[in-house]
């Protein structure tokens, strides 16, 4: 047969795994996270040496996991939008708005409202609603996601501050407090929740038609539409899921801080975008999954935790993060797809 394709991956003759492990190695190369796992090991290795082992202590590992959880949840929502080839800059506004809603509806100091556990579907729903609007603006009104989501962020942020009058609303006896701050077998509950969210989204991406369509649109929107993919529906759904996850992140943040205030939304976008890029999700779309987003969040958190342990100046830390973002994008972007850079 003249037309046969075998594996197109580069074959290396020197292997550090036995030949019987080729299947495993192939999986490793194809998994799309080999570089990220390596990066994580390197980061952790350097800090372990730099801190003479303190970095690897149980307490510090618990800190890393619990700090990584919320950025991971946000990044898992955001990355699917990036896989579409779009971007979602509405994180901070959506979180601010949802946090303020938590302040008003959960048991608090200022009013008699107490919706109990209903607060979970409510914040998820409000976030999801904002996401769906993002999707509608992008697909039906054909506004580039860069603009529509940026606008959405400012609108919701403004509303959040306006409605809450900029106040901090302390929460009282929140039923979720124990869950959010607790541990199971030494693992922070929030990290377990983030892991479950990751597992569900990853399964959906790998094993459902929705997952196929997500990557098809990211690869080529026009061709996918020709093949019969319902492009608008899929996109709106992706923005919606992102919003739901931002809403949940907002709830967890409020419960963790035991108070609700709009500024809780601040400084969430940059770490999420960095996590998505560091995780290996190409900003050109079509490449990278939930595993990449989750791992990216873990790498970024592990890095910052190490920098703090080493007492690095916060401004220098910020500079490191900026550099990491640019380098990550440079490594993951699919240049074949870019005719020119805007």
């Amino acid at each position: 047969m003249p037309n046969t394709v075998t594996s197109m991956l580069p074959h290396r003759s020197t292997s550090w795994l036995s030949t019987s492990a080729t299947k495993g190695r192939k999986w490793f190369q194809r998994s799309g996270i080999s570089g990220q796992l390596l990066a994580l090991i390197i980061v952790m290795g350097i800090f372990t040496i730099g801190t003479r082992g303190k970095y690897l202590s149980l307490v510090n590992l618990q800190v890393i996991l619990s700090l990584a959880a919320i950025p991971a949840i946000i990044a898992i929502g955001l990355h699917q939008v990036v896989v579409l080839g779009a971007i979602d800059l509405s994180v901070e506004g959506v979180v601010a708005f949802c946090v303020v809603i938590v302040g008003f509806l959960a048991h608090n100091k200022f009013n008699a409202n107490d919706v109990g556990l209903w607060i979970i579907p409510i914040t998820a729903g409000v976030g999801g609603g904002a996401g769906v609007i993002n999707g509608l603006l992008n697909t039906k009104l054909k506004i580039p996601s860069f603009i529509s989501t940026l606008g959405m962020s400012w609108v919701l942020w403004g509303l959040a501050v306006f409605v809450s009058k900029g106040q901090t609303i302390p929460l009282l006896n929140n039923p979720l407090r124990a869950v959010v701050n607790g541990y199971v077998l030494g693992i922070p509950n929030l990290a377990i929740i983030a892991f479950l969210i990751f597992a569900i989204i990853q399964l959906v991406q790998d094993r459902t038609r929705f997952g196929r369509y997500l990557y098809a649109i990211g690869g080529d929107e026009v061709l996918s539409a020709q093949a019969g993919v319902k492009v608008h529906q899929t996109k709106i759904f992706v923005f919606g899921i992102a919003g739901v996850l931002y809403g949940l992140a907002a709830l967890f943040l409020a419960v963790k801080l035991d108070s609700a205030q709009a500024i809780t939304g601040n400084n969430l976008l940059f770490p999420a975008v960095t996590a998505v890029a560091v995780g290996g999700v190409a900003l050109t779309g079509g490449i990278g999954g939930a595993k990449n987003a989750a791992l990216g969040a873990l790498i970024v958190t592990a890095l910052n935790d190490g920098l703090i342990l080493l007492d690095v100046n916060p401004y220098a830390q910020q500079a490191v993060n900026g550099a990491v973002l640019v380098v990550a994008v440079a490594l993951t972007i699919d240049r074949k797809k870019l005719g020119f850079i805007k």
Partner: protein, 505 residues
Amino acid sequence: MSAAVLELQRITKRYPGVVALDGVDFTVYENEILGLVGENGAGKSTLMKILIGLIQPDQGTYRLRGAPVVIKNPAHAANLGVGMVFQEGCLVPNLSIMENLFLCHEIGFRHFGFLSKRKMRDAAHAALGTVKVAADLDTPVSETTPAVRQMIEIARLLWLSKLYQQRNPVLILDEPTTVLTDDERNTLFSIATELKSQASIILISHRLQEIVETSDRILIMKDGKRVANIQARHAGIPEIEQMMVGHAFAADRFREDEQIPPGDQVTLTLENVSKRGVFEPLNFEVRQGEIISLVGLVGSGKEALCRCIAGLEKPDTGSIKLAGKRLTPGSPSEAVRAGIGHIPIDRRSDGLALGMTIAENVNLLVLDHLKVGGFISPQREKKNALRWIQDCRIKAPSPSTMCVNLSGGNQQKTVIAKWLSSKIHLLVLDHPTRGVDVGAKDEIYRLIRQLARTGVGMIIMCDTLEEDIGLCGRMLIMKDGQLVNEVNCPPYRKPSPSDIISSIV
């Protein structure tokens, strides 16, 4: 004669400034290979896009297996068993072979709500078996060759027609061979002939030889009209050409009488240029006005050599000099500034700004010459563009037509016009007549001869050996990365192809 699958009547499609299709009747019968030929811009692709519902006709009726239908979109057409393999390919590049095969029709593979990889794998192997491809199903399509991609598309269409129980599907192949090697082309045609027992195939090509050899029936289009419908076994290539273009072609195909002896001055010098694993150190010169043809099989290294000369690849050793001046290796911008032009094989993606107008593309390299008092003069711009549009016979309503809206062949002519209009000393032409019609081919030969007279040296790689021999003054034969032979091709004393084939293989 067997029954008709597709019957289109009086199809008309107008675009601003052009009537792309003018009352065309078009019928496809069961189990046949139908060849569709015509000049660039005759309306072949437009008609096919109507067949699959990518565009809607302004007028006309469409009957499929006897019943009138309105095809809403390509997905609808695929469900009805009508599908097209596009020149540019229509697979999603980042998805794997298997994911592409079943895209949007995965519903049958669900197992407790999730897609069953095992079921999909089995079906994918079976589907690819029908087109004789043994492939790693998880390979992303972007990493496969154009030949494999075509086969995947064909397999997808056949699989869909089985899934929806459509008898005798119709496969449209729009210029499939422009991206294939000779071996791949033979495979494609043998598969097509085999598939005839269960499908009808529409084949579009500018290589009349393959049309005559493969098809059962041939339709000829000209200016949006159907001008002839002939049985392939009665068809001769010269007659077809005449019906396509409207006039006969002289026996002197390659304008040998215009071939001139090379000048004294050396334009391009290669000294010990090599690229590891691709080609070994080479030395040769191109003189003023000389046409050198590089021949060799795929893998002989000739493509890489040309890319090195154009600065697109960096050779490992040696130097490339233009008029005695050494060029920085691997710098395309310096090559262009020094006056080296390159017409790449994939003109759609490499050579043309599709979102720009014809005039903008043609004038891109000569903007400096179109200035009046420091600013680009619109009059001059228009004049220059018009001149080259006429010279290269680009068929378009106006110079300000967007290149996306041009027919495939006319896009190619635009790239050629861009280089020809600029002031170059050396031109590398990678398959300059691929995908262009016979009339335009003749025009391109004329332009090549004209450039030679003005002293431009050329390195060409052609579609056929005959074309290479006919055009060039000297032929360099490459094999396994080495220069194995050099043959002079003076006018009227040209070697025969069989003399040369022996040193190629």
